[in-house]
Amino acid sequence: MDLDVVPQEGNATLGGHCKLMYARDAGGRLVGVPSRGWEAEEIVTSHAVDVLLARAEAARERAARGLASPLEYWMHQRRMDVALLSQTSGLWQWRVRRHLRPGRFARLSPALLARYAQALGLEVAQLKGLP
């Protein structure tokens, strides 16, 4: 890639930051140059983020209708899945999956709630509700 074609398309997912790219200057030497982003990257990153947001939104609706526990929403909101939440909280996956059910979640001990809140970086009160 030559210096003058280094993309400067203001990729929104970079949040105003630049990433460094290596490109050829007029003399053919490769030098580092800040890039404000490239459309192709923006498309695939937003696609991945949208998939995560949709998952969280679906969980929020299900939780609001009493079909899922708030834990399921917060898990997705934190961009986690059952496997990662299990590793982060130190609880077995089958237990995490069980706590995604509203009935089970409502009966959770304060200690377990605190453990989930810690794993998700939340306050216990936040974890018990929905935004």
């Binding site: 990433k19 290596y22 990257e41 590793q87």
Partner: protein, 326 residues
């Protein structure tokens, strides 16, 4: 501390170059990347990243840091911790001794990252060069300028769990035996990278690309999962740690430096060839991104053809590169 932050394309090579420069070694990001032989390709369908296979365009985390040990006769100290409190105490202690400390973190818990870039990726690297009250002074090489990070957030990021969990890893050089890079070390590093790219294994190097192309060609056209797979492939290529094309450009820059240091002018045209291959990786990424966006119809066999062409181009490139340093 009198520390010079320098922007880099990739976190690990950037961290190690900034760290070694601080210790008086004239090290650039690309030189560190090449010297460690970090260029690679691996398609690991049995390792899942949020449910999709791992596609890597470089060696696994820590390979670049460890790749400096031989050529520089350096000794590094790596420390991990079982408790976050101990990890934070040790970091403060080292900073108190005036040391520049490398740490491995998750990206998700770093508040200065743009929200759209905060995924649960645990093999990020950054340098800590001081502490002011509750804030650590952080040199994150993928940002243009130094950052600040509140202590509880950095602690969280250092002790995130999951795949490649950092376990609070921190590292710093204890001694650097040699400050100049020998031609022999460069030849050795180039042979190592070329050998790996041509390895007779179906999941690494050019053969790994062909395996991935085969997988890609079999994706159903009218399935949302196929789009996710294609998007994931481009993200692994371009976004996660610089990416496929980015690494090719870094390595091409390394070849130019190696040509000069080791007086091997035959590497110059090879650098140009690799730059052209990198451009084609970007063309592939753009074609795939347009399909993800719905501007073009999803056509997995066409993407597979482009990927096979990349494999062919890299195969002949690395054969010639190996011959050039034989």
């Amino acid at each position: 501390m009198n520390f010079q932050h320098q922007h880099a394309a990739h976190c690990e090579s950037g961290v190690i170059a900034n760290l070694l420069r601080h210790h008086g070694v004239p090290m650039s990001e690309s030189l560190a990347f090449g010297l460690a032989g970090a260029l690679s390709f691996a398609y690991l369908p049995f390792v899942k990243v949020s449910g999709l296979p791992l596609i890597a365009y470089r060696m696994p985390p820590k390979a670049i840091i460890k790749g400096m040990i031989g050529p520089l006769q350096a000794r590094f100290r790596f420390e991990t911790f079982s408790a976050p409190a101990a990890g934070e105490r040790r970091l403060d202690e080292l900073l108190g001794q005036g040391r520049l400390v490398g740490v491995q973190t998750s990206v998700f818990w770093l508040p200065y990252f743009p929200p759209d870039m905060r995924f649960h990726f645990n093999a990020h690297n950054l340098l800590v060069y001081g502490r002011e009250g509750q804030d650590y002074l952080v040199s994150d090489p993928v940002f243009e300028t130094p950052m600040r990070c509140p202590a509880p957030d950095l602690s969280r990021a250092r002790f995130a769990r999951g795949m490649l969990a950092p376990k609070g890893l921190l590292y710093y050089p204890e001694s650097v035996g040699r400050k100049e890079i020998t031609p022999e070390a460069l030849r050795h590093a180039i042979r190592k990278a070329a050998g790996r790219m041509l390895a007779p294994l179906p999941i690494v190097g050019v053969r790994g690309m062909r395996t991935l192309a085969g997988r890609l060609a079999r994706l159903p056209r009218d399935d949302a999962g196929s789009l996710d797979f294609v998007g994931h492939m481009v993200r692994m290529q371009e976004e996660i740690g610089t990416g496929g094309a980015g690494f090719r450009f870094v390595y091409a820059a390394f070849l130019q430096e190696a040509a000069q240091i080791a007086a091997m002018p035959q590497l110059m045209p090879l650098s140009d060839r690799l730059t052209a291959i990198g451009d084609d990786w970007r063309r592939l990424a753009l074609a795939a991104a347009r399909m993800v966006k719905g501007r073009d119809a999803l056509d997995p066999p066409a993407l597979a053809r482009l990927l096979r062409a990349q494999a062919d181009a890299e195969e002949s490139f690395f054969r010639d590169l190996r011959a050039a340093v034989a």
